[in-house]
Point group: D2
């Protein structure tokens, strides 16, 4: 297991779905940052289940406590312990799965890798694992916002087969995203997305989707080629989120079909730096941020746990029919929005610190 | 700069396009492996320019020398130094670019990040950087092949707008891939791809593409959730390759449009383990390999350096027209095939060693 | 701040002296280990203050709770969260120190490094920080004991100017060490040591000392030359303990005065391996354990916080006289014994896992 | 094998005693540093054998070549490849040792750990391994000197039983150290040391010794508690040097015999910061540099390879008598002086970069 992320701003997460609780230790947070639970709770609230009838019915308050590292409302530069207790546990829901690995879930691979697995729920593969990331990401984001006015906004751009239209990446805000429970800023697409989710729920089935994320005001110079290019770190971070299947930076797969003469982003003077007229690069060139908005897309598969009957085999290879009883989202993408934002914040702050180790506080503003 | 990759099998690469040479140090290679330059050279030959009229005319023999770590044809367990001298240098080709950052290239961001950059060619952002990866990857691959019969095969599945048809991932081989210079195993697509590349070359323009890669016989249990899930490490590795814009594991973005009941891979007994009837998961569940083939796709943008005139500005913000003079590929994807394979090998061997630290040599065969 | 230790068995500690509590997250613990709080508590009890009149009067139960990673008494292979609440806090004791950095304590350097520091007590530089290490070390030790019968025993070999006589490193046990509160197995030295500590206490002064530690039954092959030689990792671990000033492996500084012909350890056949007739090497040759007992000594300075008046200056450079009011040990070495053992366990288990990544479970027994 | 050192300024070394050569890759060197081979060669010259009749007769020019990372005499911020070819190889000298592990050498442990070892000489355990460290350390030192006027000076303070007298740590310089071949600045001790070395040579035996090192003008704030305290990193670095047996920071083991009231270093105003009246702390408090000179001592055992006959056993356990034939130093400490300095430089620069990631370029001067 490798539950530590980052080089200088390092997050160590812990907790299964049905133990005492989940949390994280943040090592390397800059000192003297104003910080309290109130800075962290909002993203946890956006992530938690039970926000609307679209999501799982499991009710968790998910109240975070800062265990250490903060005194008189200021970070000390010491490790910040974060803890969220588990409350609404119903292990009985999972009894059937003891003998039968759920298709496309982690039951089989955890058992094979570790020789043991949590007896109920997904254990560490449960979505509750992401609480530690989101709590840590909220801290990283606060540093980035205070120092650079950096803005990270993610939204749902596809649910199943329903695509949102063009979104203005310069203007989109979290307030706008949160205006509907599906977290899609294209008002015309929302009813179709909600209908698709409801239909999947009715069919005891599940739906995937795509989240788009933009990071505005990221300073120039982030990313550590060769192997820690900014897009490589973002891809790593995003593909570490449960249920993700793909990542695109800038033009992504569509960009492969363009010619270089059109795909290239010509330079133009901007305030205090060079900018680009287009941004197919997604704000990154040569693995290093160039001051333009960094944007990317993340693919989420349909959740593996569904209420429909599935023909499969048990651990012994005997044919069986599985029908999940637990409480599960038909579509996780609306709740995954703050997770994507948090992982982006973790990557960007780590890159800021690595670059400041090189150039001091002379980061060129975007 | 972060030119070190891996946790236990660690590769440290070095070298710009126009210095004495490029290479790598491999730390953590298993001892007692039969190894000579002949094991490494074939992948370097597949990567090097000048293989056909489709690629850059720059001629480099790219002969690798093992500097250390091998005695009497066996690895000692000590670091393996690898070196490939640079020979065919024409720095004069790059004089114009001193004042003008090439659009969508790394000139501007390297200059901003480091305050200095190589005066000619792409420096460390040049494709020659990938020689160190390929040499190291060939060693990793040899370990994997000898121990598990693991097979890694990549091929070109798209060039510009030309898509290859369905490829049989269970049967595809490097020999088959290398039957044509575009490295696409779909014979019917090859002429269209070659025509597209020729057209781009005639227009002094460039084309992107997609590479698909399959890893067969990967043992069960590879990948270190939470943050070092196998797909996260692969995404990191692939997005660290120059010019990449996207990564998909298994069903990828297309999978987001499927319902869970169809996307789920039901289990079925296979020899000595459970297998799956379908493989939308791409051989990974919960971040851990499940014994099925691991496959993924990597998007490459059209190369930034083109012969056509481009309107842009110089470092001072003054408008100018740039026309590249150097020798450059109109389409890099055929040469990128061994790079993708090499990065996959580096990831997989590192995961094998990390898992063996947990379970010893009892890795469950696929 | 860097509160993470280890490569594969990784410990992330957190907590100041006067926040909610202290703890650790252990990432990479082998799965399927029988584990409960009862395995961890004994070493915490040996470490905690208030064990005898020789130590600080601060009373802390230091009861550990396992937050995650264990189910039905077995480790899952997932991160193990460990937490010990702070209870007996008297921040008022430290008011005076707000303006005056205590000589040879961390007040000044923390303030200069972080621009802020905990307002009371030592913050992260307090001895309470070591609780996380000891809890994690107890887990590591359990793995080592079960798999190899590895035994780690440390004891006080010097207090101030009082040296213990020769100790039989093959026979010494924790039970023997704990027979007196000074944790020195040389019965004849104990009264002198206790008298010295009492005299220092009476003088409101403090005393240093030396701890010797032996690790028996460590398998052959631990340690990762070049830079992670076993003695280098042990030195790193020991010098990271508060108040340490020196480290010796095997013959140490005394060995520098011997000739090679005497210092060399000749080989002799032992059961299933080669052993040595003498052990000036301290069980390590070329950075790798050779199967003989690994032993080393750690120097602890006299604690910086003393009740006696000290002439110094405040943060503004103005002369002042400081007299500490808090509760402090006149001599920390008896309580440091389990800390030394814990750090040794963390190093050894990490080395075991790193070597098993190379050779599987074929570690040669000592 | 773990041949990579550092967090941000990372050195990857390679090379055995009898392969093509030895070297290093330096990743993370600050860009725009004036650098050529002439900056590196002097320390290599101080390290190389054959400097005087006191050292081994093996003749190696040890000329370093910069392979990459420097253009027009300036570092690019990219990895710096460094290479020194092996020239004076006489593998025949080592034939006898194939069957007999040299006592207290690495032959046995390397064989057990890796299942193979270099057939001649010490392989990676040879002193030639240190060339890579010294070359990398010279680069680190140049950065530290240019930015902070930091001065690192090491010298021989003990040879066998001959101790040097008190050295003025504020005044000592490399020029002074190099005035005699034993590298001891106490002129009165030099003849005795030389006589002791000559006597050991005549007896075909070897001698150990102690090196003291002082680092002046280190900025305040270096070191990353908890686990990467400055003294912990220095201890790690020093104990990774071949043949080392001990490390002391500041007062070291002698300090354990002092009372706190005497050992504590009272503060006093110094230019722009607080200084201390005494320096038993060795320039470090709470794991963080305080602006006073950082000084430490390193113990070196007598070299294991001696010309005298030694009764031992072969790999099969059969008694034999071994007599080394190769060329070896009777006392390595004079040549180890630049190695100690280089490792100190690697540690200090890495700490500088880690601290600048926190505070920018506002490091408080000492």
């Amino acid at each position: 297991m490798s539950s530590i992320f980052g080089t200088l701003f390092r997050v160590s997460t812990f907790g299964e779905s049905h133990c005492n609780g989940v949390g994280a230790v943040v090592d390397g947070c800059p000192p003297n940052l104003a910080l309290s639970e109130a800075d962290i709770q909002p993203q946890l609230d956006r992530r938690r289940p039970g926000q609307s009838q679209l999501t799982t019915e499991r009710q968790e308050a998910d109240q975070v406590t800062i265990l250490s590292g903060v005194e008189n409302g200021r970070t000390l530069g010491t490790p910040i312990g974060l803890f969220v207790p588990n409350r609404d546990q119903r292990p009985g829901d999972y009894a059937e799965m003891e003998q039968v690995p759920r298709p496309s879930h982690a039951d089989y691979t955890y058992q094979m890798k570790y020789g043991i697995r949590a007896s109920s729920g997904g254990g560490r593969a449960s979505a509750r694992e992401t609480i530690g990331r989101v709590a840590a990401g909220a801290i990283a984001e606060k540093v980035l916002t205070e120092r650079f006015g950096l803005q990270i906004v993610a939204w749902v751009s596809t649910v199943g087969a329903v695509d949102a239209g063009m979104i203005d990446m310069d203007a989109i805000s979290r307030e706008r995203v949160d205006q509907n429970s599906v977290r899609c800023p294209d008002a015309s697409a929302v009813p179709k997305m909600m209908a698709a989710i409801q239909a999947a729920r009715d069919a005891r089935d599940s739906l995937g989707g795509v989240i788009t994320c933009v990071c505005r005001n990221a300073p120039v110079g982030l990313g550590e080629p060769i192997f820690d290019k900014l897009e490589a770190l973002l891809a790593h971070a995003m593909l570490s989120i449960p249920a993700t299947k793909g990542f695109e930076i800038g033009s992504g797969f569509a960009g492969t079909r363009m010619r270089g003469s059109r795909h290239n982003d010509p330079y133009t003077p901007k305030a205090g730096r060079l900018g680009t007229l287009t941004n197919y690069s997604g704000g990154i060139q040569g693995g290093i941020s160039n001051g333009e908005p960094v944007y990317f897309r993340v693919a989420f598969k349909p959740p593996a746990t569904i209420g429909r009957e599935q023909s499969t085999v048990d651990f012994g290879g005997r044919p069986t029919v599985l029908q999940a009883k637990g409480r599960h989202d038909p579509c996780v993408v609306p709740r995954a929005v703050p997770i994507v934002e948090s992982m982006a914040a973790l990557v960007l702050l780590d890159c800021v610190l690595r670059q400041e180790a090189r150039c001091g506080r002379d980061l060129l503003p975007c």
